[in-house]
């Protein structure tokens, strides 16, 4: 009674061509090598944005906790997360690992890859803001805790929701200031 519709002959075939052409190849792909030999180690650009969303939620909780010890402790945890991201890049941060473990397997492959340096720069900006908040808060300036949390929340929110690359906006201003003071 075995209906022999499936023949076990071709094992090596990958089921990548369904009958309904759900993904027909584009009529004209961009000319080969549009990446023009840029840095080879590109990362999925959705990773830093998901990471920023996680960070934004933590910062919102910090803001709700006010100026007490709990708020200071949570801000210190966030600063430590930014430190990891600054040292290892956004893809190596704790949020980046969460993205790869939980989110990325459920998404389609990325259509483009992103240079890992801009998100890493943004992690450094986050570290400076939250780190200053932790240091000032520990020194008794408790208003610095919600202030730093609010500033970092704006940056993380803009990154998560709008894809704003803070590094791109700030890099040139920093460069102009440095070159002006140098010469």
């Amino acid at each position: 009674m075995t209906d022999q519709t499936s023949t076990p002959g071709d094992d090596g075939r990958t089921p990548d061509a369904p009958t309904s052409d759900g993904r027909a190849p584009a009529a004209r792909t961009p000319a080969g090598g549009t990446a023009s030999g840029r840095s080879p180690g590109g990362i999925d650009p959705r990773g830093p944005r998901v990471g920023a969303a996680i960070t934004a939620v933590l910062l919102a909780v910090t803001l709700l906790l006010g100026t007490g010890g709990a708020a200071l402790a949570l801000l210190a945890v966030i600063a430590a997360l930014f430190l990891v991201g600054t040292v290892r890049g956004a893809q190596g941060s704790v949020q980046g690992r969460v993205f790869r473990a939980l989110v990325q397997p459920r998404l389609a492959p990325p259509t483009e890859l992103e240079d890992p340096r801009p998100p890493r720069f943004a992690q450094g900006v986050g570290l400076v803001i939250t780190g200053a908040g932790v240091l000032l808060g520990a020194a008794g300036v408790v208003a610095a805790i919600p202030t730093a949390a609010a500033l970092a929340l704006v940056a993380a929110f803009l990154n998560a929701v709008f894809g704003l690359c803070l590094g791109c906006e700030m890099y040139l201003l920093g460069l102009r200031l440095r070159s002006r003071s140098a010469g």
Binding site: P30, A31, T34, A35, S36, R38, P45, A60, L63, L64, G66, E112, E114, D115, R117, P118, F121, P146, A150, L153, V154, F157, L158, V161, F162, L164, C165, G167, C168, E169, Y171, L172, L173, L175, R176, S179, R180
Partner: protein, 165 residues
Amino acid sequence: MPMRIELLLAVLVLAGALGWWWSWRNGRFTAVSERVAAVAHETDDAPAPPASTVSPRLTPQELGVEPGTRATFVQLSSEVCAPCRRTAVVLSALASDHPGVVHVELDVEQNLELVRRFHVLRTPTVLVLGPDATVRGRMSGAVSHHHAIASLESLGQCPGGARAH
């Protein structure tokens, strides 16, 4: 606690407004009148450079290539900039599709003189040059194909721009 929730909402509303304004502004073509360019030079807080260096015209030496006969897109990029890559892809495709249109990508770090001269504050900033290689306008932020086409069209409408005779 209710005060804190209001504070949180205020921060999120502010961030949302900022983000909306930012994404609306990205890639939009802004025409520069010569009068504005002259005034901008006078109000610069830096010491005024000799008149010859504030010319709105870019020389082939500065560009590294011959300017286009119709338009030249001078893209100022930094290495720490993801939208610069997307913009470069859009503009180089536009240049190869339209005769007379040239795309040049320059690194801000090596071109700080240009950055100051044209008061460039963010990357990517694209200076749009007319057929005579003078700056007619600019776009900053990620430039879409739609934005780039719109800038080419408004270039054609500029006084002294490329016009059919």
